[in-house]
């Protein structure tokens, strides 16, 4: 067991810090949460800066435009960018953190060449069309259907809770290609261009008031067969790859962010007198233990994936269960520290408290994660 970083890794960290120190002050101000086109431009601009400086797709394979760096180095990247207060992946979330890695793992050479470089260069945004009004936790019951017509699939149905759909260029889309096959067998994974005729996007307001996600209606949308990743009717297996990326690595940077917020909370409490409240202070101490441990678990999981190589394992579900809960406790504690101001939507922490509520739902609810841990790690029998 070793938690020290090699000299090369430390040099990398130092160079990255220096670069961040140079570029961050020159960034334009963050756009407002509701201005999606501005947010898209901002997030892509940041990605382009990373690309030009050689920091895009650090842990992606070299053949697809990545840097082929170790997961450890990627971890350093996430740690340092977050510590420096660099922009969050934002609209690039799906492309960088799960659609991209899925295509790198499962796509053909041509597909990798077509889709991956634009993600890294900050030119294209992806969204995720998995959930449907009647298929959330029970994803395999999805009904959006696709029939073959020459070189195209013709897709009809609807998707829901699609984050960033309004500004996305591509959608990782799950469709049913064989209605007669057993549920898990008739599903196919497609890359759908969001400007194809027949797509209607209707923004939905979240409980935080912003238009974070949308409903997507698909009416006879033509998607080339060439856009299929994996075989026809083998989409469930590809989906499992996507979900393991989503749960395995997508929250790493956020743990660092939470640790920073926790420090800020303590200082705020000190300033406004809440620090003298012993139970509250002890709660902050316990949260410190919690996030230290989550950071260690991250290092553990990253080291494991570095040893094993490839797709992150079940550890992602263990991590997500605990992290989603800890994040909610963090912002509940923030509200305690703020007192009456914890009800003020002008405070960033109040807005963050609202969005923290999504963490036990999105990317698979906590109940579903517990089923996964129990059945796939602990080997308990499947329920009827």
């Amino acid at each position: 067991m070793d938690l020290s970083y090699s000299d090369e890794d430390e040099e990398f960290r130092a160079r990255l810090r220096e670069w961040l120190g140079e570029v961050l002050p020159g960034l334009p101000p963050k756009p407002s949460a509701d201005d999606w086109p501005a947010r898209r431009a901002y997030d892509l601009g940041w990605q382009r800066l990373l690309y030009d400086a050689g920091y895009a797709g650090l842990h992606w394979p070299v053949e697809v435009g990545g840097r082929g760096a170790t997961p450890t180095r990627h971890l350093i990247f996430l740690e340092e960018t977050e510590k420096a207060g660099a922009p969050y992946v934002g609209a690039n979330f799906v492309g960088l953190l799960h659609a991209g890695p899925t295509i790198a793992a499962e796509g053909s050479a041509g597909q990798r060449a077509r889709w991956l470089p634009p993600v890294l260069r900050g030119e294209e945004v992806w969204c995720q069309g998995f959930s449907e009004p009647d298929a959330g936790s029970d994803l395999a019951s999805l009904r959006t259907r696709a029939r073959r017509d020459g070189d195209d699939y013709v897709v009809s149905g609807s998707k829901i809770w699609t984050s960033h759909a309004e500004v996305a260029d591509w959608c990782e889309l799950l469709v049913r290609t064989d209605a007669k096959a057993p549920r898990h067998r008739g599903i196919t994974w497609l890359a759908m261009p969001m400007d194809a005729p027949g797509i209607t996007v209707r923004p939905l307001r979240t409980l935080a008031g912003s238009a974070e996600f949308a409903e997507v209606f698909l009416d006879e949308v033509r998607v080339p067969v060439a856009n299929r990743v994996g075989e026809e009717n083998d989409g469930w297996r590809v989906t499992m790859v996507t979900l393991s990326f989503e749960r395995g690595t997508a929250f790493v940077g956020e743990v660092v962010a939470c640790r920073r917020v926790l420090g800020e909370l303590a200082r705020e409490a000190r300033k406004n007198g809440r620090w003298d409240d012993v139970p509250l202070r002890r709660r902050l101490g316990r949260l410190n233990a919690e996030f230290r441990a989550l950071w260690r678990l991250t290092q553990w999981n990253v080291s494991e994936s570095e040893r094993v190589g490839g797709v992150p394992g079940m550890g992602g579900s263990v991590f997500k269960l605990r992290y989603s809960q800890a994040r909610q406790e963090l912002y509940d504690t923030a509200a305690e520290v703020l007192g009456p101001e914890g009800l003020d939507l002008g405070r960033e922490w109040t807005v963050d408290r609202l969005s923290s509520l999504s963490y036990t739902i999105a990317a698979g609810t906590s109940q579903i994660q517990r089923n996964i841990v129990a059945e796939r790690i602990l080997g308990l029998p499947k329920g009827r």
């Binding site: 067991m1 800020e264 202070r281 230290r292 841990v373």
Partner: protein, 306 residues
């Protein structure tokens, strides 16, 4: 960075586990807590003595001298290895003043080899005082308690010893082992016990208890191992909070999964719970750890210069 067990560490852990299965398996554990035929009921059974032969065997295997330099007759390993060994001790519910004797190796003659049993004041308690050949800390005015844990005789002392982070870390490792064990016991029971025509582990209410147990174990494990690598007192404080929680709540949930059987003396679950409670009392306690970690938040904010 390679935060995984090395091959040597895996081998060490397997070796300790094997030794404990052989020398302190389930039968020995039960023999230590069950009254001989016809003598009183379980709860009132007197605590058995310490198994000196086992103690010496642990000494021979290097359990106590693990961190002592080779030139002083030790094994010359570090805290991570000690933590792995103590995790196994926790899993096996191995009784005795293990932490105190381990910490005395090299200082109290015979401790390293298991010739000498050393007790110590840890927090406001001393474990195994009457059985010890040597005692560290001030035990004047020690009062015997009727210990809740049948395998840990306890005395209470008026003057607590100053906290020792290494003792706290080794305690965390034992708690981790116990938590991992109760999780495994619960899962095993949930797979085999049938109700309503199926294994109870197929019911989500049971399943979710088990998966939460595993999550607590894995988070505590990452914290305990990391603290062993860094040796940092705050890492240790954090690890201890999480490991105490994993052990105590794990044993409770394990008892719940076992139903009525869990509430019987025959089941081992209560032994884990009682030991977890008594270990949790070692050192300064949760409040002090939380306070230290809270102060650290202010200090780290100052370090970051924001």
């Amino acid at each position: 960075m390679d935060f995984q067990l090395t091959d040597d560490q895996r081998a060490l852990r397997a070796g300790v586990r094997e030794l404990l299965v052989r020398r302190f398996g389930r039968e020995r554990l039960r023999a230590a807590v069950d009254p001989p035929e016809g003598e009183g009921s379980g709860g009132r059974v007197a605590v058995g003595g310490l198994d000196r032969a086992l103690w010496r065997e642990l000494g021979e295997a290097g359990f106590f001298a693990l961190r002592l330099p080779e030139e002083r007759g030790g094994v010359g390993l570090g805290l991570p290895e000690a933590v792995l060994a103590f995790e196994e001790a926790g899993r096996a519910l191995l009784p005795g003043p293990l932490v105190a004797t381990h910490l005395a190796a090299g200082e109290v003659p015979g401790a390293a080899t298991g010739e000498c049993v050393v007790a110590a004041v840890d927090g406001t308690l001393v474990e195994w005082l009457d059985e010890a050949d040597a005692v560290r800390g001030d035990v004047t005015g020690a009062v015997a308690l009727r210990s809740v844990d049948p395998l840990t005789p306890l005395h209470r002392v008026p003057r607590p010893a100053p906290p020792d982070p290494v003792a706290s870390l080794l305690t965390a490792a034992e708690q981790l082992g116990s938590a991992a064990r109760t999780c495994a016991l619960a899962v095993q029971h949930a797979r085999t016990r049938e109700q309503f025509g199926q294994p109870i582990g197929a019911f989500q209410a049971v399943k979710h208890l088990c998966s939460e147990m595993l999550v607590r174990v894995e988070v505590a494990r990452a914290a305990v191992y990391a603290a062993a690598v860094t040796g940092d007192p705050l890492d240790i404080a954090a690890a201890r909070l999480l490991a105490d929680d994993a052990a105590e709540r794990g044993a409770r949930d394990c008892l719940q999964v076992h139903g009525g059987m869990g509430f019987t003396w025959e089941s081992d679950v209560h032994l884990h719970l009682k030991r977890a409670w008594s270990r949790a009392r070692r050192g300064e306690g949760a409040a002090a750890a939380e306070e230290a970690l809270a102060q650290d938040l202010l200090a780290s904010a100052a370090r970051a210069g924001t």
